[in-house]
Symmetry: C2
Subunit: 149 residues, 2 copies
Amino acid sequence: MSYMYLEDFYVGLIRTSGEYTVSKDEIVEFARQWDPVPFHIDMDAARESIFGGLVASSTHVFAIRSRLIHMLPVKTRLLAGFEFENLKLVAPVRPNDRLSLTIETVYVRKSRTKPDRGIVKNCLVITNQKKETILTSREVILVARRKTD
Amino acid sequence: MSYMYLEDFYVGLIRTSGEYTVSKDEIVEFARQWDPVPFHIDMDAARESIFGGLVASSTHVFAIRSRLIHMLPVKTRLLAGFEFENLKLVAPVRPNDRLSLTIETVYVRKSRTKPDRGIVKNCLVITNQKKETILTSREVILVARRKTD
């Protein structure tokens, strides 16, 4: 399997994932375990909520964000991820929504102190099958440089 | 069960959760499902990573954040959560870490258009058993007002 290293990133690079379909059962099961707010697990509470129906927990949407990153064509040689600037949940995720991810690189630089790594900032946008924006985020990650002997 | 409504929030309000212990199995299981990066699921890869050992996925830490919110003494009558400003993962979470949450309210206002709700901003800090900061975040939530007939 090939990986993307720091040298492969450049400002303006855009990558897109495949689609991930979110089932009603997954929404309820995830929320039961991690975020048991009534409108994420109970259909009556969901109907009476401001969403008018069942919606995924923000934590669940964040987990789907990870899974979509793993669905990109080429993986990143990630060393760590550590900052999310302005993570916004723009619209809710509902059962059977099909989500996909677009990532644009907006900043790349080598580490000033460690020769084996560098910093990449990416803007992430998750959209649904209606092309509505679901989530936006700007993320800072630490990426390995290629070994050059 | 009693709930906190908009009227119960004020700038400077500080709340703390109980402790949540993160097991090695939970770290591996969560990452396998949502974020299968080698250093979250494989002990050898973890040892060779910049963390020097197994660490929880950022997505997992975010899910624990939800669970800690549910461990606060009183629940919030939440209508929606929609923005996370400067979500930072300051230090990694390792097996058997005991995490707890402190939330400080920094902003409260009634909705200008809807009489049944208002906006609250909270600063969240998750710390471990050594009092090291794990995660910081500033979050914007929509909270119900008490019904007054």
